[in-house]
Amino acid sequence: MKVCANATEALAGLRDGMRIMAGGFGLCGNAEHCIAEIARRGVKDLTIISNNCGNQGQGLAVLLKQRQVSHVVCSFIGGNPDLAEQYAAGTVKVELNPQGTLAERIRAGGAGIGGFFTPTGVGTVVAEGKEVREIDGRRYVLEKPLRADYAIVRAAVGDVDGNLRFYRTARNFNPLVAMAAEVTVAEVDRLVGRGDLDPDDIHLPGIFVKHVFEAREHKNVIEHRTTR
């Protein structure tokens, strides 16, 4: 049975020192209830794999504020003073990845790929210490897959079998991290019954989801409210 009552139940197996992948781009598409539960539990020495690790003191940045995070694998620090500060102080280790490389490494982790050659990063600091190879006249860097103990995912709709649908640009890294963890926890705005989703309408098949719970309330923080 994949359905859980809440984040506490879904994340019961979380321990100090674990690697957690989180969907979301900045504060959009964040598994807010999962993050709150990790903060409440106070587990420490976490590695967070996420495009931003929060922003503006919110989202995953709460875990930084509480000093629960020792490593971050991300693509962007801008807008995240907590990460910038702890990175500068050396209290959090940060591994910066080009955003597309981060996405592809996570996908590779989920898809059983042992590594891949990407043109991104050739001739830059990203390629330092990595194999660079010319293939059919173009140079590529070898990148390795990423995996985690837990993935926390936010979806718009989920069914009792863990099938998920995302909403607009809240999709981002969510379906990818769901594939690459030992245990994937999905919090969904709306939980529906078996067969309520058409097979053609499912963005992420339930095979990748271990626990699903409904969380109707989300803050959905806007980072930059731009209007015309």
Partner: protein
């Protein structure tokens, strides 16, 4: 008289052609959207094609954002997708043009635009993928730094974003194409002469007959 920021943005918009898929980087490149007359489709690397203008007050949706985390809209015909597919579009050469901001461009096409040693980095985000992957890279930047140092150079002093990737640079002085061991100046801002350009450029400049 050199081009204003607005002129530069308009000049970049003129680079775009009907039917192209276009990614506009964060900062000045984002403003290019306001001046596009061609029927292009805007790509945002967080997973959106068919990006529309900022929403009206009553249309704001926190879950519809661009790569700068600004609230935007989705035009009819638009689509959303995950980050792996979004960067497959970029790396796979499906994005026709990318307009990026720049800190330095070398005449070899090498681009530096993501970090300055000694300053706190923001991370590269999608910049390296866009620079290495887009079919055509147009860089929008000032011709010289605040201290007067040329930003069009023979060889990058700053850490590279990607090598040999830049097809065109638009500055307040004109339009310049990296051509290996020199820049080809294909357009000058009104009233700007060759001497001014040569003095402000850290690499050889060749002027095309039309300039």
């Amino acid at each position: 008289m050199s081009w204003s920021k607005d002129d530069m943005v308009r000049r970049a918009a003129a680079e775009l052609k009907d039917g192209q898929y276009v990614n506009l980087g964060i900062g000045m490149p984002t403003e290019v959207a306001n001046h596009i007359s061609a029927a292009v489709v805007l790509h945002s690397e967080n997973g959106l094609l068919g990006m529309g203008p900022f929403p009206r007050d009553d249309e704001v949706d926190p879950q519809v954002i661009n790569a700068g985390k600004q609230t935007v809209t989705v035009l009819p015909g638009g689509s959303v997708f995950d980050s792996a597919l979004s960067f497959a579009m970029i790396r796979g050469g499906h994005v026709d043009v990318c307009v990026l901001g720049g800190l330095e461009v070398a005449c070899t096409g090498d681009l530096a635009n993501w970090t300055v040693p000694g300053k706190m980095t923001t991370g590269m985000g999608g910049a390296m993928d866009l620079a290495a992957g887009a079919r055509r890279v147009v860089v929008l930047q000032t011709h010289v730094a605040k201290d007067g140092k040329p930003k069009l150079v023979e060889r990058l002093a700053l850490p590279a974003t990607a090598l040999g990737c830049t097809n065109r640079v638009i500055t307040e002085l004109g339009v310049f194409d990296p051509a290996g061991d020199h820049f080809r100046c294909v357009e000058r801002a009104p009233g700007i002469d060759e001497v001014q350009i040569r003095q402000s450029t850290g690499a050889k400049v060749v002027f095309t007959p039309s300039t």
